[in-house]
């Protein structure tokens, strides 16, 4: 791609990455979540694959595929943690500690990130899975038709 595309991609990529991470991290507070944030991050992968020569991303798919598995497993295991009561029971919510802070009263607040128990963890797991899954799909598609694909 031309130098203009590459330069702009260099500027946009970190910003989009940060935005994707924000959407995943704040999944339990604001619209969005693991899937949406993961899709934003995967769009960065698409941007980089288009802007820069795609062959150099080939090795990344070997990293991403196990990560996808890991994300899916993490989500299922988080759901299994609630099995003392029922599957998917939110065991961390309201218990203090990690993501266990009490939820603030209704009304304007800056967003209490340390709430909602296992939900943020599940968002991270979904985010990981979507980043890895969509990312490797983008990379695999870019490799189609190449002689070394």
């Amino acid at each position: 791609m031309s130098v203009i595309v590459r330069t702009i991609s260099r500027v946009v990529a970190p910003v989009a990455l940060a935005f994707g991470a924000y959407v995943i991290m704040h999944g339990h507070l604001t619209p969005g979540g693991g899937f949406q944030g993961g899709a934003v991050v995967a769009s960065v992968v698409a941007l980089l694959v288009v802007a820069f020569e795609s062959g150099r991303w080939k090795k990344w798919k070997d990293v991403l595929l196990p990560l996808e598995d890991l994300g899916a497993m993490a989500f299922t295991i988080l759901a299994f943690l609630g099995l003392g009561a029922t599957f998917f029971r939110n065991i961390l919510a309201g218990g203090g500690g990690l993501f266990g802070a009490p939820v603030p009263q209704l009304g304007p607040n800056p967003g209490a990130l340390n709430t909602a128990g296992t939900l943020p963890l599940m968002n991270w797991a979904v985010g990981l899975k979507v980043i890895a899954g969509l990312g490797s799909v983008v990379i695999l598609l870019s490799l189609f038709g190449r002689e070394d694909g």
């Binding site: 899916a72 009561a85 599957f87």
Partner: protein, 508 residues
């Protein structure tokens, strides 16, 4: 532990599907042991749920609640996702368990390592989890999600042999039909949610008034599910899919198609069983059923690809089930009960006989590298067991006594005759044609002079075929025993179980 059985039957194969790939990096033996453990546990859970549902009535499991039975929150609204297993769901769970276990037994010696054995195993478990979720869920949106899980896993399995030319085409065709069907279901779910602000099947069933929008939703749901079931005129994906998928996956694909029949029963009798119980729906389903039977059987006559021939046979059996469901929905009691008994019993019989035939086709393909009837012949000299199993499965498929296909088809003919003698005559005619088709296939592939060398199937594959053969014979010899124990609770759940289903979820 047993109180969590419904969700464990879904979550454990799901976890297994994801963890298998990681284990496969470490060691193949470990992966195989893990797969066996997962499947043994899953089928044990499905059986445990079935026993509970048959003896104690409807089993409700609420996800994320303080206790599994707490399905309704304060205010009397079921806000959480629930799993509801009544007699019908439990029966379908048993079919899925049988299909999954047999497929796994067949699997290990069927696919070679270099054909991506780990991925196939993972997809098989994913499909299994999807089917179990589909038949256990009590939430309409989750129903759609599980439908999509089965669709995606099924399409990946159908197109599994990417290095050949036809499987990817079959997978694409199937994906197109499944996606279209899934979209219809999604639109219908959207309509119902917009109308009643709820996704819980029991709550919706109580709230549905039978308005024009409800009729639209029912039509869309039925359309989507009939596509998934492979009824004429949306059947063209099914022969390609069954014919090209690896033989080990086809029995699970058949169970997947039957899950669509289950869904039609659930929609017609439970979800819309209160306000929209018109016999017209039954006549529609029955006429589609008989068309499916006739078209599929006539198409089977001209096939020379052994896999596609059996696949058309499988589609025709789906037609018989639809016919039975339709007749059951016309009468809702009386001879309708006989029809539903036949139709529901035919599901497990069909899974066994069609599954056995596909397993034999897979063994023939593995031994000779061909499934073309014109180039095969005389395989009975070397593949003795396979020939016997094929004959058994073929006769069961055609409904010859004393095999299981006869028991269920006879109930279907008898009740269809009461609804419409013409339909019964057509169904009987199709069955005779089917006998001609399978006899021709048997003669073409296994009889005659020996024309080529073939190595018999390894023991694992023969054991899987043996289990299915045993099911065919035992169900054929003692149909009354099984109808009373497992089929009759399912039929009662369909016909009269709506009140119990609603009460179990909503309380009171």
């Amino acid at each position: 532990m047993l109180i969590h059985a419904p969700i464990l039957a879904i979550a454990v194969p799901l976890l297994g599907a994801f963890s298998l790939l990681g284990l496969a990096y470490l060691s193949r033996t470990l992966r195989n042991i893990w797969a066996c453990l997962i499947s043994a546990f899953t089928s044990a859970m499905a059986v445990a749920v079935a026993i509970r549902a048959f003896t104690e009535g409807v089993v409700v499991y609420t996800l994320g609640a303080a206790s599994p039975t707490e399905s309704v929150t304060a205010g009397g609204f079921p806000i959480r996702i629930v799993l509801v297993v009544d007699g019908l769901g439990a029966f379908m769970g048993l079919i899925a368990a049988l299909a999954g276990v047999v497929a796994l037994v067949y699997y290990f010696q069927y696919l070679k390592e270099e054909e991506g054995k780990s991925l196939g195993l993972s997809l098989l478990l994913l499909l299994w989890a999807g089917i179990l979720g589909l038949v256990y869920t009590g939430d309409l949106f989750n129903f759609f999600v599980f439908l999509e899980i089965t669709s995606i896993a099924a399409c990946a399995l159908i197109g599994y042999r990417t290095w050949e030319s036809r499987p990817p085409e079959a997978a694409f065709k199937t994906m197109a039909m499944y996606t279209l069907g899934g979209l219809l279901v999604l639109i219908s779910v959207g309509i119902l949610y917009g109308e009643y602000d709820a996704l819980n099947i029991a709550y919706l069933s109580k709230a549905i008034t039978g308005s024009l929008l409800d009729k639209l939703a029912l039509g869309l749901l039925l359309g989507g599910l009939l596509m998934k079931a492979g009824a004429v005129p949306a059947h063209m994906w099914a022969p390609d899919a069954y014919g090209e998928a690896p033989a080990t996956a086809t029995i699970v694909l058949v169970a997947n198609t039957q899950a669509a029949i289950y869904a039609i029963l659930r929609v017609v009798f439970t979800l819309f069983g209160g306000a929209l119980a018109a016999p017209g729906i039954g006549w529609l389903i029955a006429s589609l059923g008989i068309t499916t039977v006739l078209v599929a059987v006539l198409m089977a006559v001209v096939q020379r690809h052994l896999g596609r021939l059996v696949a058309y046979g499988a589609v025709s059996q789906l037609g018989y089930m639809l016919l039975a469901v339709g007749v059951g929905a016309v009468a809702r009691g009386g001879f309708g009960e006989v029809a539903l008994t036949g139709g529901i019993f035919h599901m497990i019989n069909d899974a066994a006989s069609v599954g056995l035939l596909f397993f034999v086709v897979g063994a023939v393909r593995r031994a000779t590298g061909s499934v073309d009837l014109l180039s095969l012949g005389g395989l009975g000299h070397t593949l003795r067991w396979e020939a016997g199993f094929f004959l058994l499965g073929a006769l069961a498929l055609a409904g010859i006594p004393p095999l299981n296909g006869f028991a269920s088809k006879f109930l279907i003919y008898e009740s269809t005759f009461r609804a419409s003698p013409i339909l019964a005559a057509l169904a009987l005619l199709a069955s005779i044609l089917l006998l001609a088709v399978v006899v021709r296939a048997f003669q073409g592939a296994f009889l005659g002079p020996k024309v080529r060398e073939a190595s018999p199937a390894p023991r694992g594959m023969l054991v899987a075929m043996g289990i299915l053969a045993l099911v065919i014979v035992v169900f054929g010899l003692f149909p009354g025993f099984f109808i009373e124990r497992i089929v009759s609770p399912a039929v009662q759940a369909v016909l009269t179980g709506r009140e119990a289903y609603l009460a179990a979820v909503l309380g009171g």
